[in-house]
Amino acid sequence: MSKAKVATVWLDGCSGCHMSLLDIDEVLIDVVQKADIVYGPLVDAQEFPEMVDVTLVEGAVSSQDDLRLIQKIRSRSKLLVSLGDCAVTSNVPSMRNNIPTKVLLERAYVQGADVNHRPPTDGVPTLLRHAVPVHEVVKVDIHVPGCPPKADAIAFVVTELLSGRKPELAGKVKFG
């Protein structure tokens, strides 16, 4: 049997969910025996592969780049998993949502800055008006809330998925 292809992606989040993923300890050994990690911050791949079995998404969709990337990823992933509160609820990144982006950038880069009083424009993606959960822009198959989700919950989800089952998470996970 060929190995499953697993990808991870880091949108607008703090990387805590990826840390929690590494925290599944020896379960990682089972995972890499059953699957290849083909894309994400943990591996060196430039382009998202043509077809992936499972993609774990950390982070809210906050910028034009996030939006383009997640749309591409959705079309190339059989199963998309929202991993953690930022992906599931938009969480901390959404705390800017009731401030217009222009006002927000001015507050941070003009009023809040000692030098270079202007918002950066080169090489940074345009912010969306709202940071939103992944499922508000593409279909998501499984939600794993938590900030970050407990390593046990991630181990359970990954193990179930790699065994061809859909993990039943009711009662096992919580927001926050």
Partner: protein, 236 residues
């Protein structure tokens, strides 16, 4: 003199006091019906709708907290339809305000969060509304954060019915409804607030908290207030 009557809850025959609510009767019989706006010792207002149940012969769902028991009632508290409705209600509560559990003073001690876990809410299907709402830090001891308010009115009732100060009210309608202090004063400028903290202890979420507590640090104890209310016979 309250008389004993019997009702059937999920098929099981249960004795109840006449005058009791379906919710109290079910809880006394060891059943679980989710609730948020209900607090023991305060009047029941049926604000959150989480306690909806089916009563045989009644063509609509009834909130268990405001429905008095009647002899021979046949009540269903758990089925797929009720579970679906209750989950939907929780999702709408989350979508209506800004709940960021990870940085909330009540994280891990919140009735809304705990119910979401218990009822299997792992995501919110409705678009979040991200309203811009007030945070009032003007009171010397307490903080009020509308981002976390679910308009259960427990604070309103505990203040009016137990403390007798009636500081809190709800203004406006629908999603525009807001909790206000007196006639829309800052809490710190309240004329009636005795700073007793009963509203804070009764609030099921992080909307009311004591100052000086950081993320996850605010725990609450509504039970002594319920006992006090029962002693005074405010409501059974």
């Amino acid at each position: 003199m309250p008389s004993k009557i019997s009702i059937r809850i999920d098929g099981e025959l249960i004795n109840a006091q006449s005058g009791a609510s379906l919710l109290d009767a079910a809880l006394a019989a060891g059943k679980f019906i989710p609730s948020l706006c209900h607090m023991k010792g305060l009047s029941s207002v049926g604000a959150c709708r989480l306690c909806v149940v089916e009563v045989a012969g009644v063509g609509r769902l009834l909130p268990a907290c405001t429905t008095p028991v009647q002899d021979g009632m046949n009540v269903t508290t758990q089925n797929d339809k009720l579970r679906r409705y209750r989950r939907t209600i929780l999702e709408l509560l989350f979508a209506e305000r800004n709940h960021v559990c990870a940085v909330c003073v009540s994280n891990n001690h919140c009735e809304l969060q705990a119910l979401a876990t218990r009822l299997g809410v792992t995501s919110v299907r409705f678009p979040y509304t991200f309203p811009r709402v007030a945070v009032d830090l003007s009171h010397r001891k307490f903080a009020q954060d509308q981002n976390r308010c679910i308009l259960c009115t427990r604070c309103v009732r505990v203040c009016a019915e137990v403390e007798g100060a009636h500081v809190w009210n709800v203004v406006s309608r629908g999603v525009g409804s807001r909790l206000v202090c007196e006639l829309n004063r800052n809490w710190g400028d309240s004329r009636n607030c005795t700073s007793c903290g009963k509203c804070v202890q009764s609030c099921p979420t992080g909307a009311l908290a004591e100052k000086g507590f950081a993320v996850e640090e605010m725990t609450k104890r509504p039970e002594p207030i319920s006992r006090l209310a029962n002693l005074r016979g405010v409501h059974s």
